[in-house]
Symmetry: C2
Subunit: 107 residues, 2 copies
Amino acid sequence: MANESSYKDKKVITIGIVKELTGLSERQIRYYEERKLIFPDRTPGGSRRYSFADVEQLVEIANKIEDGVQTYEIRQEMIREKKRTDEEAHKKMIQGQLNARFGVRKY
Amino acid sequence: MANESSYKDKKVITIGIVKELTGLSERQIRYYEERKLIFPDRTPGGSRRYSFADVEQLVEIANKIEDGVQTYEIRQEMIREKKRTDEEAHKKMIQGQLNARFGVRKY
DNA sequence: CGTGTAAGGAATTCTGACACG
DNA sequence: CGTGTAAGGAATTCTGACACG
């Protein structure tokens, strides 16, 4: 649920292409980064590189803003969502360890 | 077998990233294009854009060249391979039309 | 044949700031 | 708050050519 697509998460897209793909302006794309909603990689030279997942994220962000949601709120949502998935992953890992030591109980 | 990955075939990667991803020089990447082994898109400004599929193709090409295969031969192989898959697709399409008109015979 | 390189120019991207509201 | 824009510079990419072999 995080690493099944080797392409989707690779940071290889320049801001110019992201602009084409999303229809957003460079200004918007950079601003959402400033507000910590998106996290592109950087080349050694300092240019931003986005993944397809980032592109999709940007579209979602833009939609919410169009609906009047502020960047701060969007960020809070993202943090809550991350916490939820992290806890879920943690729970699964613990369960995996239990299964490894005491055997898997299928049902 | 050609459009199941929406990411793999999108031409969004600059030559600089392709260089990193493949370990090839820009010179090599451009040369393989000159020899019609690879077909990047272009931005309005003229910059090349590659897909992940292109990146994989480039690695294969580079391996063959290392093995002493000439670009001309690699190109011939590619043409033969394309012909084969095209014929296969054509055959499937004809069969599909027959099935549509006369019903599908499962076995 | 396949690849390196120096050359000059054009396209791309970057940051910080001013503006509006 | 979110976005546009002009400014100046730096990084990226482009082409055509000379070189080697």
